[in-house]
Symmetry: C2
Subunit: 161 residues, 2 copies
């Protein structure tokens, strides 16, 4: 997805879900993420840990890197991030460092999440920047995609949703 | 630093500190990290968030990516990681995903750390892989380097040590 491509703001959840489906088609964990600013799409990405041999190549980390490159800045002040699954501690940390304004996520991840589950990173006194958090977009689609994927692999990284 | 360069195992802490000093000389937060396997140096890196316009470009994330690329694998099973400062939540998460065997860190980071400070990520029931943790290598040198750097910038990301 090219940078600064404009789109209807209300298509953002679907674009994140499309990135998750594309990740599944590549044999990756089906998670997709999008960064927008003032209704414009800045970057979109899905998981690529296997393809890239990179355990940090989660959708959120990739989309933050892409958005920073597109905007030529280290911090994404005023930008919002949609991701189909509740971020893990690594990604929740990256979202905080990037100064994301609003975080929208799809399915909750009771086992691996770090926002409304687990360590609840943004509720900690040591967290310097916490985005506004909006859970539950396209929750059923996002969770079903993950369940189908991991059912085939007999692995269970997501418990709830 | 090239991959698979052999070195005396006990030089690893000094190499991490040299990477931290090199980061400071580039105007980056002075933190350095090294990945070794069976006494061989696999990768070494310092922070490059400013240079790369990438808030995820902490020393630990960079050195994990470099080591995975050098070894051609997504997980660094049997590898150890030295870093001059206690990892933040993002990096502690990346270290867990990478399946690092032993984590050695220099100075504690009471404000930003997530290993022996803050959310103590590896003590959480939701943590799938926790490395063995050894704090305190070259602690005084690592902490003094950070203090000097942030004193100049009137910023204080590290409180203790």
């Amino acid at each position: 997805m090219t940078s600064a491509e404009t789109h209807k703001a209300d298509r953002t959840p679907e674009i994140a879900l499309e990135e998750a489906r594309a990740a599944a088609a590549r044999g990756e964990a089906p998670i997709g993420a999008v960064v927008t600013k003032d209704g414009a799409l800045i970057a979109a990405a899905g998981n690529r840990t296997r393809e890239m041999n990179d355990p940090t190549a989660h959708a959120e980390v990739l989309v933050i890197r892409m958005a920073c490159e597109a905007l030529g800045q280290e911090r994404l002040v005023g930008c919002d991030l949609h991701v189909t699954l509740e971020p893990c501690p690594m990604c929740a940390g990256a979202i905080s460092f990037a100064r994301i304004r609003r975080l929208y996520f799809g399915a909750e991840d009771a086992k691996g999440g770090a926002v409304t589950s687990g360590v609840r990173l943004y509720d900690q006194p040591t967290c310097h920047h916490a985005p506004e958090v909006y859970p539950g977009f396209l929750e059923r689609d996002s969770a079903e995609l993950l369940r189908a994927f991991f059912r085939e692999r007999r692995d269970v990284p997501i418990s709830g949703a």
